[in-house]
Symmetry: C2
Subunit: 535 residues, 2 copies
């Protein structure tokens, strides 16, 4: 008995290609056959058994046995987000979580949640719904997954507490599919409460602190803001890849287990490797550069990056996702820097145009100021930044690096002057960059290197790399680096290598700063820091 | 002085949107201004100085100084693959590698290579080319990167040794950009030699063994086959992501550093983590499942996976790239298995249709039999496979797992009977699967689990997972697993979780078997095995 028209015989709740009318028709058909099938599915079920003599709803509610794929049931389910007035008076099946419930006499109101979408449901004593069924409904624990058969009813006044404001579900069947335990370590409504409301009402509302959230991440991730944050994060990766692929880049995969700590050995995790030792890569840079030396011309890679740094700040993780790229150029590293700048511009446009719902969802919990960017992006030289900071009273030398407070101040100054949250700082002092950075041929104190900032925080560091083995050796010596340790790195450039530049971007930082969030643990699904490696 | 019409002022060799005619026109313009600019660029250059009195080519050849981004030169370069007879009699600039050279009297033939494309170039004494310049050309080391200005000439008989068979470049200027050292550990022509040719001619041609290749991967990766293999590998990832995104999946990122060795502690790498210890994840499974419990519904992730297994075989790596997916379903795990099967079908179609050039490139070096698949894919139950193997003389019990030789034999039997290199084996014996695998409700000896094969080798393992904490505990006890060690895993299912299934695919295996290659080290850019963690 097949309901739905898909070729593989499986009905899909996400099938938006069907017309609303066809969906309605199918929903009706489904309703007709549903009871019969439900009884079949319930054969082995332990029925709720409160005086079944007067319970005319028997078989229409209860806990179904653990779904073990005993049989294929071809029932069409609808997604909560689909439920709008054009479904009025049709019968639908929905699988979702019991978000909240409130029983009062002969009726029980349930808010059913599916991801970030919610709809109000009413179970009221009637010809088909017994008082036993209402009681069963009122006892279902929060966060349990339930199957509901219901008639969609249009409502007179909007239901402000739900995302589906114009309809209500009048429940005719109700089954728990996967019950949650009754004591939850945190409630989704608390975890989802807007920051502002928190502040206004102070002690009246329960806050959920960050460690409680992270300890119970499976629950915490169910909030609308978290559903949106990680969908947007997927969007950043997708845009990054699609934009670069379009520009002729090839995706590569670089090893995380490496034989030597390439940049001197600080901040590197050690791994036991059979009878010896190895290290976790702090960046894919050597391998990206080898791919350039191997003629891949333009490459990117997205993967885990490890930093054994004991930094307990709002913006450091010990493991994060690096969006890395490297590109051969003809004459000037600005060919690469323009490509990087354009990639960000296209990414910001993509987020703005395709992830507006997600940005709005995050905005409902957190006070998000829209992210501002210019097209083409603002690009300043390091000395210009130093001059701006000095004018604002900062005392710094020409060859000093920017401190974190300086960077934040600069972000505010640039926002005020240029109205952008995104900018590129070019030509860093040679003294503050790694040995493989190409010096500026016109100014011995500068280098062909750049950092990129969002809202005053660094999200990417990059440079033209030295592609000449002899010069690289010379620069390594000037940095007092043990040549033996970087021999294989230097040797990669002895067989001809195109001039190239690139950079590495921290994914979690980009998402945090794009959304204006205050902590990088909000944009890492399972964050790792010096004090946390669970769950 | 800007040549080219791009908005950012930078000419691009990859700009295929321009008409051939416009390109020709621009090439001519470029030729006009090139000499002037080249002289500018060479201001600081050390000129080749062999009796400059009679050398009327001074300034038209030599080694240019290391490109340090001293200035932006707006010269349009063409890609070797663009050079066809419609460019005849125009002047072009090309940057590529000196693949081979052969000097004879007053002329020197060079094969110029750019990635997998090659073109023949002629430097012959003439009004503009002096004998000194020919001598310079003949002394350039193989694999050096050179800039060539040349007139494209149509040739009478095809040049079979190059990819560009119908044209030859008559060189007018020639500069080394990045010289290679003269003694190369391997030659690209040797590394690229077809396997068959090797066998036919036995000792006459030099073979390059695998360790030499991997020790000098930067050179080895320059062969046409390797250029194609890793582009196709990027294609597999792209297709996997695009197909799943289209099906409503969300990309997630899971931590590689984990607190405990979840499946008993065997085959796990240990990491020093500040003052304690941690482990490298053998799979993202727990985290994918947590994402399902957190309502992400359908998720995938691509990332490094680590196995501390001392297996020195053609198909094991200690670090590989996992393509993992996990998906909630309504009633039966076949909803997921159909999605997985369809994903592979779409991927194989995409590779066939969009990567024909790459497949052909690999085929020129390796004897590749085209990969065969059915649409929809062949799906057999485990007992059917056992029956086929028994009929072929294999002696095995109903609850035995397949050995590697059994799997290969089965692959041949299935290929002979069904004409497919791709198939799904469903319903593995419960006894040979991990504790979290959902048992078959109808047969206590079977489970809701599956493996997927390509050319008789396993490339994916998956199952319906137990989503009920109590039942999971029961099954863990039956497997004598220390419950304390998997407590956080079990606890993830205490707050309501949809039934779900998924699986993990090994990227390198998929590419190796799709292309019919004999060793997984051929499809990992920088492979890691028990004996190798370099380069």
């Amino acid at each position: 008995m097949v309901v739905g028209s898909k070729g593989n015989g499986l009905a899909s709740a996400e099938d938006h290609t069907k017309s609303k009318k066809a969906q309605k028709k199918e929903a009706k058909d489904a309703a007709k056959t549903a009871r019969k099938e439900e009884r079949k599915a319930l054969n082995a079920s332990q029925q709720h058994d409160t005086g079944s003599d007067d319970d005319y709803s028997v078989g229409k509610y209860g806990q179904i046995p653990m779904i073990q794929s005993a049989e294929i049931i071809r029932r069409e389910f609808f997604h909560v987000k689909q439920l709008e007035p054009d479904f009025a008076n049709t019968t639908v099946w929905v699988r979702g979580r019991l978000h909240t419930s409130r029983a009062k006499g002969k009726q029980c109101f349930i808010v059913l949640r599916q991801q970030q979408y919610t709809v109000q449901c009413l179970i009221a004593v009637s010809e088909v719904v017994s008082k036993f069924m209402v009681k069963f409904a009122s006892n279902i624990t929060k966060e349990s997954i339930v199957d509901i058969e219901a008639v969609v009813r249009e409502v007179g006044s909007k239901i402000e507490s739900c995302t589906q404001k114009n309809v209500e579900l009048h429940v005719t069947q109700l089954f728990t599919v996967s019950p949650a335990k009754s004591q939850l370590p945190l409630l989704i409504e608390d975890a989802a409460r807007p920051i502002k409301e928190d502040e206004d009402m102070e002690g009246l509302n329960i806050r959920v602190n960050q460690d409680t959230r992270l300890d119970n991440r499976v629950l915490d991730l169910r909030t609308p803001a978290n559903q949106a944050i990680f969908r947007l994060e997927a969007g950043v990766c997708r845009l990054f890849r699609d934009i670069l692929t379009e520009k002729g880049f090839v995706e590569i995969h670089t090893p995380k287990i490496i034989p030597a700590a390439s940049e001197g050995g600080a901040n590197v995790f050690t791994v036991s490797y059979f009878k010896g030792s190895a290290y976790l890569a702090q960046s894919p840079q050597l391998y990206k550069q080898m791919a350039i030396a191997a003629d891949f011309d333009k490459v990117f890679t997205i993967g885990a990056v490890f930093r054994a740094e004991d930094s307990n700040t709002h913006r450091h993780l010990t493991e994060f996702v690096g969006l890395d790229l490297e590109m051969a150029f003809k004459y000037h590293y600005h060919e690469v820097l323009h490509t990087i700048g354009d990639t960000f511009t296209l990414m910001f446009k993509g987020l703005r145009d395709r992830y507006a719902d997600e940005i709005a969802s995050v905005g409902q919990q957190f006070a998000v100021e829209p992210f501002k960017f210019l097209d083409p992006p603002l690009q300043l030289e390091f000395p210009t930044a130093v001059a701006m900071l000095r004018e604002a009273g900062v005392n710094m030398g020409d060859e000093d690096d920017l401190s974190t407070p300086d960077e934040k101040l600069l972000g505010r100054l640039i926002r005020a002057k240029y109205d952008t949250d995104f900018y590129i700082l070019d030509k860093y002092p040679l003294a503050v960059r790694p040995f493989y950075t190409m010096p500026d041929p016109k100014d011995s104190k500068r280098s062909n290197s750049y950092d990129i900032f969002m809202r005053g925080e660094e999200i990417m560091s990059g440079a033209q790399r030295i592609h000449d083995a002899e010069f690289l050796t010379e620069r390594a010596k000037a940095h007092d680096i043990d040549l033996e340790k970087i021999r294989s790195y230097i040797d990669a450039f002895r067989f001809g290598c195109a001039p190239h530049a690139g950079g590495g971007i921290g994914l979690e930082r980009v998402v945090m700063l794009y959304l204006g969030l205050d902590n990088i643990r909000k944009t890492s699904m399972f964050p790792r820091d010096p004090k946390r490696i669970t769950p």
